[in-house]
Symmetry: C4
Subunit: 230 residues, 4 copies
């Protein structure tokens, strides 16, 4: 994929988050990284999705150094950069305030693996970050948001559970490509909606068995995957 | 109905599950059987619904033996085959992860007959299968999913309650034709949504009376049916 | 309004119930009465809404005697007839299985006047009928459904609260015209949705004060109404 | 902005409340004030949104004195006037019966700041007014509705939390322009929906920290704002 194609894909990912109902107003942003050159492409800040074009995308390096951009980057840029530095496996990040994922983030409640819909994409529960301290909020808030996400993944492969809930804020999802990151954000929202309603039926509902979790996840992921066409 | 017509109907049924909001991403699959020749027609695995054509449908015999297909069948094929072998009355099967039916499947909670909407199509509660054992999940998972469905119908006519909830997974529905199977999957979702909300108003809500159940079901089904035009 | 215009309006009312999301599949039916001639116009049974035309409407007299019709009437005709005989003020009836109104009907829970949205159209709580007896269900089920509605309105003006919930079944709404009956069915659904969620926040929520109820209802209805243009 | 432009913007704001799903039937109204001349522009009463044009807008002065209008003003005009007199900072008011905001108004439950979606637009909880007395309802109901809103803002800047819930009725939102007032009404509805579901997960859920509240609100508002383009 050329750099121009990747920029087109980032613009499309931003628009798709709106099209799938994950983003209202200007809440939310998608980015991708070109790992060869270390350049990050991200949505501009506060530009309406209806008029956004690939030309509006903002380019930065991994330390936040900006290239020659017409527009300011998304105010969440530093969170994306922390994730790209900490998770070398990922190629794209999507942040939304999608309704049910945000509800769990607000209630600081992780989303257990209640069914195979969840296990088809996420190999285990969706975690919630710890709250940020007052100091973190004051000093380097956006980067600190990335840091608490990375903390929550200690000892865990970020591609096995490609999403997190930031406490009191909302979800971040990622993947190898912008398309995959949007898919994960979309599935996360549906999984959150079903988990919420399942918990209302039974407040002590246990997750599905580890073997069912593994069976579904491995059907779609890794060397033994059998799902789809060659 | 010719075999070509049935293949068109299976393709349409797959697309209709998306159109009715029952299927997101590539979750879900519809199939039908030509009882004269024993040939089963099913969705291919992981092909986006937007580009699917009748030519993409996959054909198998009742033991899973494949005909000369361009594409791999849905990974759930073996579940469909078990149902066609066990339930000779049925002609089509639809599997979805529709939101509210899946919520009940996840909570392992059957759906009682709370109203006439339910009784118009399902003659009694929608059951939940037992959980699969670790051994079943490991060895012949997809066929075992069919087996626990058949178990749940011991002594019960599969056309009287043409749907089931697979524990921790989601619903399967069926009918004599693909169109009927899609209708049952659609009504099931609406019935599940209304049952969920009714239970929140009253956690001990009893089902409607047996005579009201019978009255509504018999109005639309069997030799005494009076509903619709001739 | 000519009889032909009224027939067009009945057809449109049936289609509007689908357009407003109140009716799925073929659940639901709308009718009107021409009070001068005593002729009732109603939807045919089981005809898909997408292909329905004014020519498909069925005409009956107030005792159910049929005129020269091409199609069978809605299987709920007798309920409509009972309402037209008992409530001479009303000119049209709409029956739906709209989601939240049906949820209250299933839970046999009346909808209290929790807000002014309710009071703008319904002057007091939406009642639930008693359950039908086994005998009523067996012998004259459809007419008996009308009878329990009439029972629930003893001493109450059917135009002051132009809707009812039939226990275990769903809502009926009415008005002076087909358009008004559809409007009442639409507002009822929204009011039911808001009442359900309000009750979840507070299970002992009291209704608004009688004076607020009266103020809003009288603003839109009766000789002192000030709402709208002349 | 010329007076004609402002009138166009008020008409558009009324139509946008429908387009965003905040208003059903004819519930709801938007207005704006031209502070230089003291003229208020508001929706006419009971005119369907589908046929409304800028020419239909009604003009009044701050005491309710009418200019030469073709149509009657919204029956809520006096509430808008009270707000314009008490809050000189605001330029537009939007009243809706949007589903979740109305649910909180009906349950007389304020909406705490559970997340950053809330804090991005509202600097603290959304309050509920006190109930109106029977006397207020009888004598000057519409103006009294404005008075209890103003009461609820004693000592609070109306632009810091540009919305209120009127007990047993529904939300009012405002802003410097019609576009901003509609945006606030839209965000309020989404925030209310997420708060409702968060409270169901945890009935004792605390709000986010004051520092997180301040950080998000100040990012978008005031002299230190960094969000968006110049």
């Amino acid at each position: 994929m050329t750099f121009a194609d990747l920029r087109d894909a980032v613009c499309k990912a931003n628009i798709d988050t709106v099209r799938h109902g994950l983003v209202k107003a200007t809440f939310g942003n998608a980015s991708a990284i070109d790992r060869e050159t270390g350049r990050v492409i991200i949505k501009p800040s506060g530009v309406p999705f209806e008029v956004m074009t690939p030309d509006d995308m903002v380019i930065a390096d991994l330390t936040g150094g900006a290239y020659d951009n017409r527009l300011r980057p998304s105010s969440d840029l530093d969170t994306h950069l922390v994730l790209y530095r900490a998770f070398p496996e990922i190629g794209a990040v999507v942040h939304t305030h999608s309704t049910f994922a945000t509800i769990f983030a607000q209630a600081r409640t992780p989303i257990p693996t209640f069914g195979t819909t969840h296990a088809d994409y996420f190999h285990g529960e969706i975690r919630v970050t710890r709250n940020l301290t007052d100091e973190e909020i004051r000093d380097r808030y956006v980067a600190a948001t990335g840091n608490v996400i990375v903390e929550a993944f200690e000892g865990r492969d970020p591609l096995e559970v490609p999403a997190i809930l930031v406490a009191g804020h909302g979800p971040f999802a990622w993947g190898r490509t912008p398309e995959e990151a949007v898919l994960h954000a979309t599935i996360l929202e549906e999984v959150a909606k079903m988990a919420w309603h399942s918990m209302m039926l039974d407040r002590n509902l246990p997750p599905i068995s580890q073997s069912l979790m593994d069976r579904h996840y491995r059907r779609k992921h890794g060397t033994g995957a059998t799902y789809g066409q060659d």
